[in-house]
């Protein structure tokens, strides 16, 4: 990983010195040993801040939206899951492909900063992979201008493993399910962090912000929170790239990915296997029409 860090720094320095890009977005070492938050670098002398370690878990693709109107280019580093976010934004026509440079980094899987919190640094080796990384099928970037380092082997993850949490919940009886989700979303404080971090949540104006028409009440109460959860899940249906950022940023620890994975599982069953953001050609199943689509509602 030290090797890749050096390669990242060299690449960033080259791009900034040649003035090919205005900013380079990567990760830097945070206050704690178990955090590597995003960093925005505009001067060549700052490139040594860049790091590549086992805590570069943040998905940087969404930051492209913040630089939409910048004159000049952006360069950003992406892992496998992040690169699907780039495809998401391109497919949703939110960003221009020639406005940024994607530097791919093959990812060996990241560690969960939350789990590392209580440990001392010398026990870092004992940490397990973050949950989303343990069932990752795309460790290598699927879209990039340049790839640093060698591709890593993708693990074979079957659907049983991938949908383990969904299957477990599906076994419960209706009242148990309802109790489970009610308890989860009673915790929700409607901070919208899940939406803000999501590469699929890229609407310029979000339904949850609108006051008129009031699609959903702003009160933080059980019913509105649950409608918020269901509405958001359906809005990213078929477009969720499974980066798991929503769940990671949730300050209340709500298992948001269980809802998203449930929908992915259903879509795979109804429309055939589909993984969002793997390429630019395949349209999301809910965003296109096919005469062979199931017509349960006719």
């Amino acid at each position: 990983m030290m090797d890749l860090t050096q390669k990242m720094r060299d690449k960033a320095r080259e791009l900034l010195e040649k003035e090919e890009v205005k900013y380079v977005i990567g990760w830097e070492k945070g206050t704690f040993w178990y955090q590597s938050p995003p960093v925005f670098i505009s001067r060549p002398e700052d490139v040594d801040k860049l790091v590549w370690d086992q805590f570069c878990i943040n998905n940087l693709s969404k930051y492209l939206l913040d630089f939409k109107h910048l004159e000049g280019k952006i360069a950003l580093f992406v892992k496998g899951c992040d690169s699907r976010g780039i495809n998401r934004l391109l497919q949703d026509q939110q960003v221009q492909r020639d406005a940024f440079i994607v530097i791919g980094v093959p990812c060996p899987g990241m560690k969960d900063p939350e789990k590392a919190k209580g440990l001392s640094e010398d026990k870092a080796d004992q940490l397990q992979l973050a949950e989303k990384c343990a069932t990752c099928t795309t460790p290598n970037p699927v879209i990039y201008d340049e790839l640093l380092g060698d591709e890593v082997a993708a693990a074979q993850v079957d659907d049983v493993e991938r949908f383990a949490r969904v299957n477990e919940l599906e076994q419960k009886d209706p009242d148990e399910k309802y109790d489970f989700w009610k308890r989860q979303y009673d915790k929700c404080i409607r901070c919208f962090a899940c939406r803000n971090v999501c590469p699929a949540c890229n609407c310029r104006e979000c339904v949850f912000d609108q006051a008129e028409p009031e699609w959903l009440g702003k009160r933080v109460v059980s019913s509105e929170n649950q409608f918020f959860a269901l509405t958001r899940a359906m809005h990213v249906a078929g477009r969720c790239i499974e980066c798991g950022e929503c769940e990671r940023v949730c300050p209340m620890g709500i298992p948001i990915m269980s809802l998203n994975r449930k929908i992915i599982k259903d879509i795979n069953n109804l429309f055939g296997s589909y993984d969002a953001g793997m390429n630019l050609e395949d349209q999301p199943p809910l965003g296109k029409y096919d005469v062979n689509d199931p017509e349960e509602f006719m």
């Binding site: 209706p174 109790d179 489970f180 989700w181 019913s223 359906m234 449930k262 259903d266 509602f297 006719m298």
Partner: protein, 52 residues
């Protein structure tokens, strides 16, 4: 959507989606009648509501 509601513990019978055009009055009436018949025995919905 029906599957998602089922996943969060709502009786899927309470929610139906049908494609009915403006000229299909009979189908509309029939659908609503059937739905009403189906949901009446289920009683009032107590889920996704705030107790006040």
């Amino acid at each position: 959507m029906q599957r998602l509601l089922e996943f969060v513990g709502i009786d899927p019978q309470r929610f139906q989606a049908r494609w009915i055009s403006g000229s299909e009055a009979a189908k509309f009436a029939e659908t609503i009648t059937n739905l009403t018949e189906q949901i009446k025995p289920l009683g009032p919905n107590r889920k996704l509501r705030d107790d006040v």
